[in-house]
């Protein structure tokens, strides 16, 4: 998982698949970032093709942490299938979702 820090914002590029297996790694890395003080996070789905319910759980956990700790996570660059997953589960209503990374970064400006 690629992590970039642009200004105050930490941009995380998600792997191609966030399924039951890889969700644990993704969660661990997010926890590391959050423990490290990251409060402005952009999750870039540009390279991501699949998110399972285990993956959704990870993002939900990050979201809840941010809500508790005055932080914010913005999702961006989602492909249609992934958007479907978020929409079907209703999670698209809970998250701030931007079309591109730039739009996402702009939300923190």
């Amino acid at each position: 998982m690629d992590v970039q820090v642009i200004g105050e914002v930490t941009v995380v590029t998600l792997p191609a698949r966030v399924d039951t297996t890889s969700a644990r790694d993704v969660e661990a890395e997010f926890n590391e970032l959050l423990d490290g003080g990251a409060r402005k996070v952009v999750a870039d789905f540009g390279a991501n093709e699949y998110v399972s319910s285990a993956g959704l759980r990870v993002f939900l956990a990050v979201l809840k942490f941010m809500e508790k700790n005055e932080g914010r996570i913005v999702l961006c660059a989602m492909q249609p299938f992934v958007i479907d997953v978020f929409q079907i589960s209703g999670f698209s209503e809970l998250f701030a979702i931007a079309g591109t990374r730039e739009e996402a970064l702009a939300l923190f400006a």
Binding site: S53, R57, L60, S89, G90, E93
Partner: protein, 663 residues
């Protein structure tokens, strides 16, 4: 056979075999060369003994000849009277020990029977019988003609008279004279003007007993012996007393029919020397294999033979070789011990390793291995073996751990699966007495339980509640959350006939204290069985399909609603739908729509809709089984990752109207 022996023994046997061959060859060679050498030495020794003995006898013979010739010259020259002749004879015998006796035989026709004779019975050359009778060694002077004895008939008198020269007589027994076996050297003399050519015969005797004793005194080993034969081949001296004068070398040859012995005899009496193999002359039958060295005694015409058995020549060699073989045997025993020691020290680590392997083979992986000493092959083997043992131990430990872990997981999976399966209704048809509905459901759990469930129950006689849900996560936590969700659902659904309210209440319960951020997607519908009207709400769940009785397939529109437990305070919109008799409401989870194949391609809602259209003619069960078959074909052997859960509900029309929904 060698292969079945321990290596130490094999090495030892081979070393010993080799060493024995070499030792054997060396011993055999040295045996033969030593035997050859010893034989030659013995031969030379026998020859020398024969020569020396012949010379000794010759010396005596020549001495006697000279003495007698001197005496004869004296007699012929001085013609002594009887008194003087007796003095001469006594003097001759006294001063010459070789001469046993000496006498003068006068021609009876001129001097009457007169034969003075002197002899020395106790002389070392004398006879044993007489010796005992006259221990003083005095010389006895007698007359051979006394008492009318016819001495002139004896060879010693007749031969010189007839041949008119000096002769050695054949050995004879001198009865009345020395009374022993003797040979006489006799010289004819002529006195004065006697009318006969020979007036008297002067003689000197050699005792054959002395010769026998001389020959017996020779050192010829245990069974070697010497013999002496006369000019005619008669035995003069021989260890077998019966042979003396009674047998000749030729009579023995005759008795044995032995031409070789006859030839030897001829060669001997011809005065030749020789060394030949022959069978001995101890008896009248062939003796053992022996060697004969013979030498002539020229003065008397006799021949001396020394017989030495082959066995005794070999005896020295045998003794020598016995020592050699003894040394060789000791050497081999020493070699055996050394070879055994070396072989044992070579194979000791091997045997230790073997013992360790046996212990190890019985599963004692911690058994100590022998210490690898040095850098030879066995040390390498031991080291490699130790490494193998360590890897094996590590492997077994790892295997044990993974097995334990897998068993734990498996048991968790079993628990989760049994929780899941115990919570869904599984009796179909569920309402066999009702003619207004057909209902079937299917839950195909993944190996690792996904937490799917479905539920249905009659709220009252006319209202049926249908639910399908997918709990996030897997395994026991998912199964537990599923159990909780189902209990809440069952209790809340009875308090309200609005699916949206029920979901909202459920969400509040599940969102509270949801540290794990688990959530549940759920589709909930309440069917009015009188009219076919359906009220539904969805908590982030996949949109169900409606299969029309004419095989038209439509997917329900989206209604807003977030997955249960994600966040509190969510409002769930409701949708409305009216089923015509025969229509099927098809609910499913993402285990169906997101089933993967080997190329990571999802089955997809689109294809699901198409396949449902093809399956519309069948019963609810046919629809579910049909989709399952299609999924199985799609996965083509790829392991099912998520639970596959489906519910098919066919509305058959109000019970009183007797609708035409039956397909």
């Amino acid at each position: 056979m060698l292969r079945s022996l321990p290596i130490a023994w094999r090495i030892t046997v081979l070393v010993l075999l080799g060493a024995s061959l070499v030792l054997g060859a060396v011993s055999a060679y040295s045996y033969w060369s030593a035997r050859d050498f010893l034989e030659q030495q013995k031969r030379a020794e026998i020859r020398a003994t024969a020569q020396a003995t012949a010379n000794r006898i010759e010396t005596v013979g020549v001495a006697v000849e000279k003495i007698v010739q001197g005496l004869a010259f004296s007699v012929e020259d001085t013609d002594p009277g009887l008194r003087r002749a007796r003095v001469l004879l006594r003097h001759t015998v006294a001063s010459n020990e070789e001469v046993f006796g000496s006498g003068i035989g006068y021609e009876p026709s001129i001097y009457g029977r007169l034969a003075p004779y002197a002899y020395q019975p106790s002389d070392i050359y004398g006879s044993p019988e007489v010796q005992g009778a006259n221990p003083n060694g005095k010389i006895v002077v007698t007359d051979l003609g006394r008492g009318g004895r016819v001495y002139q008939a004896g060879d010693w008198f007749q031969l010189p008279v007839q041949m008119r020269r000096a002769v050695w007589t054949e050995p004879y027994y001198d009865e009345g004279g020395g009374n022993i076996v003797m040979a006489t050297y006799a010289v004819p003399v002529h006195l004065g003007n006697d009318p006969v050519p020979v007036s008297a015969v002067v003689g000197g005797d050699v005792s054959l007993f002395w010769l026998t004793r001389l020959l017996e005194g020779l050192d010829l080993g245990d069974t070697g012996y010497a013999f002496l034969i006369s000019q005619t081949g008669a035995f003069i001296a021989h260890p077998n007393q019966d042979f003396i004068l009674n047998e000749s070398i030729f009579s023995v040859a005759e008795a044995r029919d032995d031409p070789q012995l006859r030839a030897i005899g001829r060669s001997m009496i011809a005065g030749k020397a020789g060394y030949v193999a022959f069978d001995g002359v101890m008896s009248l039958t062939p003796d053992e294999r022996s060697w004969l060295a013979y030498r002539p005694v020229p003065s008397t015409g006799w021949s001396l033979g020394i017989v030495f058995p082959d066995r005794e020549i070999s005896a020295d060699v045998v003794a020598l070789s016995r020592i050699q073989w003894g040394i060789a045997l000791l050497g081999i025993v020493a070699l055996l011990l050394v070879a055994l020691f070396i072989a044992a020290s070579i194979t000791r680590p091997l045997r230790a390793l073997d013992a360790a392997t046996r212990t190890l083979a019985q599963g004692a992986l911690d058994a100590p291995l022998p210490q690898a000493r040095g850098r030879d092959e066995i040390a390498h083997l031991t080291t490699s073996f130790g490494q193998m043992r360590d890897s094996l131990r590590a492997y077994i430990d790892e295997l044990r751990e993974t097995t334990a872990a897998r068993e734990r997981i498996e048991s968790e999976l079993r628990i989760a699966a049994s929780i899941q399966m115990s919570l869904v209704p599984r009796t179909f048809p569920p309402y066999p007495q009702r003619a207004d509905l057909e209902l079937n459901a299917l839950l195909e759990p993944a190996r690792e339980v996904g937490g799917d469930f479905y539920d249905f129950f009659l709220l009252d006689n006319d209202h049926l509640c249908l639910a399908i849900a997918d709990v996030s996560g897997k395994g026991v936590p998912a199964a537990l959350l599923m159990a909780v969700t189902r209990s809440f659902l069952r209790s809340f659904a009875r308090e309200s006939d609005s699916p949206g309210e029920v979901l909202a209440t459920l969400n509040e319960e599940l969102a509270a204290d949801n540290e794990e951020c688990m959530f549940v997607t759920m589709f909930l519908a309440v069917v009015d069985l009188r009219s076919g009207a359906v009220t539904y709400a969805s908590a982030g769940h996949n949109r169900p399909f409606v299969i029309g009785s004419a095989c038209g397939v439509t997917q329900l529109p989206r209604v807003r609603g977030v997955a249960l437990g994600a966040k509190a305070g969510i409002v769930y919109d409701e949708g409305l739908l009216t089923l015509a008799p025969g229509d099927v409401l098809y609910l499913y989870t993402d285990g169906v729509s997101e089933a993967m194949n080997a190329r990571d391609e999802v089955y997809g809602e689109e294809r699901l809709g198409e396949d449902l259209g093809r399956l519309c003619a069948g019963s609810c069960d046919d629809v579910l089984q049909g989709v399952l078959d299609v999924l199985s074909a799609h996965a083509a052997g790829v392991e099912q990752w998520d639970d596959i859960t489906m519910v098919a509900f066919r509305y058959l029309g109000p019970p009183t109207s007797g609708g035409d929904g039956v397909v």
